[in-house]
């Protein structure tokens, strides 16, 4: 106990250094010729050393940053494609460096895997050391308690044997582990507490490993799918025709339960009154009918942003909404070849929306097969800018308008390549032109119809409904992840806030008394109390004071009456202790 306590308050403190005295040589100098085994040992020691762990931690923080600066494929693939188009030279290089997949990149994975290996390699040996330390007896009472950071000396009237017993009881009731030893001329109790500081530290680090495993299991066994559903439409989970679907390596579409989800109504409200917040969303609520599996009892629920459907490990969230104009197309023969809602995807906060209608099976007035495509924008509350272009000024459908351009030709549906529902492949198409030879821009309000030239047919804008986008996810291991994070927090708190303290109480017959003599009058005892903390510990002085005071109470003597405070001769041991002692003194005087 000769070395002064270091100021480290955190978990990875001297225990670690105690456990690795043998490393000192290996750390500083590499012996000239290392065999493969020794080299491995050397590498392992380096990896599990505190400095390496610290370095890896800093590296991890730095490595995480690019993921917030560059677009990420698994979050916004469109942005990545745009970036690659806009940066012709830098883009491919960044891509090769996996900058668009930072969190699954080789280098990011290498850092955190090394960090976790280092962590396990450090924590497991420490757990063994700790297991031994927990069972070990508190360390022997130092010869000169006066040299400890905290020291009190009191005289009591009780006999040494009684005083020693009382001291032991006091320490035990303060949840110290106590070891009483006989000493020449008296006895001493060595007490220690705060082992769970290290327990907490180990729990924290091992919980991080558990958290990593939970997260990994989620990405291996989980899946996610997105689907846009128009009001009145039903979407079935199993083999559902997803707009997009992604699953971990050990999962697939066949794992999705056969639920059915019908969108009964999509409720949307925007701020209408307050000018400064005009158009801000106020309510997104999807009324749905959910059937867990065929034949099961359907239940109705309102899905909002913060209230998903949760069932059987599957979570269905409302991830977006928009307008779906109801369109009817009657071809040149008078047949209705399309009728129904067509979702238009919102492009901005005022819901300027883009959409496409494909009519592959029409026949024109002359009896020829034609394919038609319409592409345009839906504006829920239209106004005209100064240059006459229409745009939306409010996301609610106060004054809706549909602006479309019609195309004929080859939609490109026949060659089998999958196509987006929301994009026209203009390669085989040409715009329908008016008498002046310019493409015709059709502008329709609900209820209006337009007749296309050349006997192509008639398009009717029947009305407006809404759609909702749903996000269907299964994330196994999320409860485990939560459990491990909470465990980690508890362990962390323990490792930071449980003080590790040692207190020694030495009892000797009072000077001049006849302590040892049987039958003689017990002339009282001298009690010395010393305290030592691992790391800085503002509460150590108070702890020692409490021990002294409780001891006096237990012996039935007036508390503090005969305490003579801090011993002289320890003023040179540091700065903080002076103040701590002053604090103790001031408490005693009150």
């Amino acid at each position: 106990m000769g070395t002064p306590p270091r100021t480290d308050e955190t978990h990875l403190d001297r225990l670690r250094e105690d456990a690795e005295p043998a490393r000192a040589g290996a750390d500083t100098a590499v012996p000239p010729a290392l065999g493969p085994g020794e080299l491995l040992r050397y590498a392992w020691r380096q990896l599990t050393s505190m400095r390496t762990a610290l370095f890896l931690l800093m590296l991890l923080a730095v490595a995480a940053v690019p993921g917030s600066v560059f677009p990420q494929r698994d979050i916004d693939p469109v942005a990545v494609r745009r970036y690659l188009v806009e940066h012709e030279t830098a883009g491919p290089w960044l891509d090769r460096l996996q900058v668009f997949d930072v969190y699954s990149s080789v280098w990011f994975s290498a850092i955190y895997l090394l960090l976790f290996v280092s962590l396990v390699g450090c924590v497991l040996p420490r757990a063994l050391v700790h297991a031994r330390a927990v069972r070990a007896r508190p360390p022997r009472t130092p010869a000169r308690l006066a040299r400890l950071p905290e020291h009190r000396q009191v005289a009591v009237a009780a006999a040494p044997a009684d005083t020693a017993r009382a001291a032991e009881e006091v320490l035990r009731s303060a949840r110290f582990r106590v070891d009483v030893r006989e000493e020449p001329g008296g006895s001493s109790a060595a007490a220690e507490r705060g082992h769970h500081r290290e327990t907490g530290n180990l729990v924290f680090h091992l919980s991080l490993v558990g958290l990593l495993v939970s997260v990994a299991s989620g990405s291996l066994l989980g899946y996610e799918g997105q689907r846009l559903v128009v009001e009145g439409e039903t979407f079935v989970g199993v083999r559902g025709d997803w707009d997009s679907f992604a699953a971990g390596p050990w999962a697939g579409e066949e794992d999705v339960p056969p639920f059915a989800l019908r969108l009964d109504r999509m409720d949307v409200e925007f701020e209408e009154d307050q000018a400064s917040a005009l158009g801000q969303p106020r309510l997104f609520a999807a009324d749905v009918t959910y059937t867990p599996r065929p034949g099961a009892e359907p239940r109705t629920q309102t899905v909002e942003v913060n209230t998903p459907v949760e069932d059987d490990g599957v979570q269905i969230n409302l991830s977006g909404n928009g307008y779906a104009p109801v369109l009817r197309f009657t071809d040149g023969q008078g047949r209705v070849v399309h009728t129904g809602a067509v979702p238009f995807l919102p492009q901005n906060a005022n819901y300027d929306s883009r959409g496409v209608l494909k009519v592959p099976d029409a026949t024109d007035a002359s009896g020829e097969q034609v394919q038609l495509g319409f592409q345009g924008v839906f504006l829920p509350t239209v106004t005209r800018g100064e240059d006459g272009t229409p745009r939306s000024i409010f996301p609610g459908d106060a004054n809706p308008m549909l602006a479309l351009v019609a195309y004929t030709g080859d939609l490109g549906l026949d060659d089998g390549t999958p196509q987006s529902e929301y994009v026209l492949d203009l390669a085989g198409l040409h715009a329908v032109r008016g008498a002046d030879g310019r493409p015709i821009g059709y502008q329709l309000t609900p209820g209006q119809s337009v007749t296309l030239p050349d006997g192509l047919g008639t398009l009717t804008f029947e009305g407006v409904t809404r759609f909702a986008s749903f996000d269907v996810r299964h994330t196994p291991g999320q409860s485990a992840a939560l459990l491990f994070s909470l465990l980690a927090t508890a362990g962390l708190s323990a490792s930071l806030f449980i003080p590790r303290r040692r207190v020694w109480v030495r009892v000797r017959p009072a000077a001049g008394g006849s302590g040892g003599a049987a039958g003689g009058s017990p002339g009282g005892s001298t009690v010395e109390v010393g305290g030592l903390s691992r790391g800085s510990d503002a509460g150590l002085a108070a702890e020692v004071d409490v021990v002294v005071q409780r001891l006096a109470e237990r012996l039935g003597e007036p508390p503090g009456a005969r305490a003579d405070g801090a011993a002289p001769g320890v003023g040179d041991d540091g700065t903080g202790n002076d103040q701590a002692r002053t604090a103790a003194a001031s408490r005693e005087s009150t």
Partner: protein
């Protein structure tokens, strides 16, 4: 539900009142520091004289008063500053509460409100620490009044910035924020940020004090003489470590609460959104700080630099990430 514009107006007036009181409190804290500098110089001169006399008389220096006697008597400026800070806190609290009532929700629905409420928490935590210290007779290195200027200063700066750059009228919440997790997640984030901020101020003082002590040992001019009235660098380091330890646990909880909310709202608990990335970077930076404190050769100044890196990330997370990075957290209307 609509917005009570009268109450929102009262909230703004109260905020201006609070800022005035903050200015007064900051000046008083600064005066206290200046006063402490004078006292410390006087005390040093007195000690030198006593030592000379003792040496002349050939006696030991044992009769010198212990360093604890250095503690100044009544610090009037500090007492005034603390009281005015209390007034500022009450006005500020009034402003935040009326803002909340004017829109019938928690007053942290956008960046302006977050900044204003965050500042309130910083002041609140600091005042609570002062009350705690006073109960202990300002003993045991707990007298944090020396920090006053360095806590009120950043608070004023942030409030000014919030009013100038981020002000938005009181309005109802957007649906994405309409969750009780807003209360839990953000409230804990406030506390953590407040403690990180006070911890940062302490760390800056620690580094200044450390340089001063080094120069003093080398017998050079120290320059920043007002620091003489402050605790030693070692004591400042311990205070800052305690603040950071509590803040780190709270930040951990902020991230967990955020993840639970994210699972509810976005159906995944972690998705490397810009805000999540930076919360993680902050966590790792402070974790590195805590580890550095326990690593030989990294404790002291180097660890302090790491905690400052953490704080820089914290500030960047609130400003740069909110304003310039596209992500799921950027609905706040700034």
């Amino acid at each position: 539900m609509s917005v009570d514009e009268n109450l929102a107006g009262i909230s703004n007036v109260l905020l201006y009142g609070a800022m005035t009181a903050y200015v007064v409190a900051m000046i008083a804290f600064a005066l206290d520091l200046a006063d402490g500098q004078r006292t410390a110089k006087g005390e040093a001169a007195r000690r030198a004289r006593l030592e000379r006399e003792a040496a002349k008389a050939g006696g030991a220096v044992a009769t010198l008063p212990p360093p604890a006697a250095l503690a100044r008597g009544r610090r009037r400026a500090a007492a005034v500053a603390t009281s005015v800070l209390g007034v500022a806190f009450l006005l500020h609290l009034g402003s935040v509460v009326t803002r909340g009532f004017s829109v019938d929700r928690v007053p942290w629905g956008n960046m302006f409100e977050f900044a204003v409420t965050g500042c309130l928490v910083v002041t609140g935590v600091f005042l609570a620490a002062l009350v705690h210290a006073r109960r202990n007779g300002f003993a045991g290195g707990r007298d944090l009044r020396y920090l006053g200027t360095f806590v009120v200063g950043p608070v004023l700066l942030t409030l000014g910035l919030a009013l100038r750059a981020w002000y938005v009228e009181a309005a109802e919440l957007v649906p994405a924020l309409d969750s009780y997790w807003l209360i839990i997640h953000v409230a804990v984030a406030f506390l953590a940020s407040a403690l990180f901020t006070i911890g940062f101020s302490t760390t800056v003082l620690q580094l200044v004090q450390d340089s001063r002590e080094t120069r003093q040992r080398e017998g050079r001019r120290t320059g920043v003489s007002f620091m003489a009235a402050l605790p030693s660098a070692q004591e400042l380091e311990r205070t800052s470590a305690r603040l950071h330890a509590v803040a780190f646990v709270l930040w951990t909880f902020t991230i967990i609460a955020g993840a639970i909310w994210a699972q509810k709202a976005w159906s995944r608990y972690w998705g490397w959104d810009a805000k999540e990335v930076w919360s993680f970077v902050i966590w790792v930076a402070y974790a590195a700080y805590l580890h550095a404190r326990a690593t030989r050769g990294w404790d002291g100044r180097r660890a302090a630099y790491l905690s400052m890196v953490g704080f820089t990330c914290l500030v960047a997370n609130f400003t740069i990430v909110n304003i310039y990075f596209v992500g799921l957290h950027s609905y706040a209307g700034v």
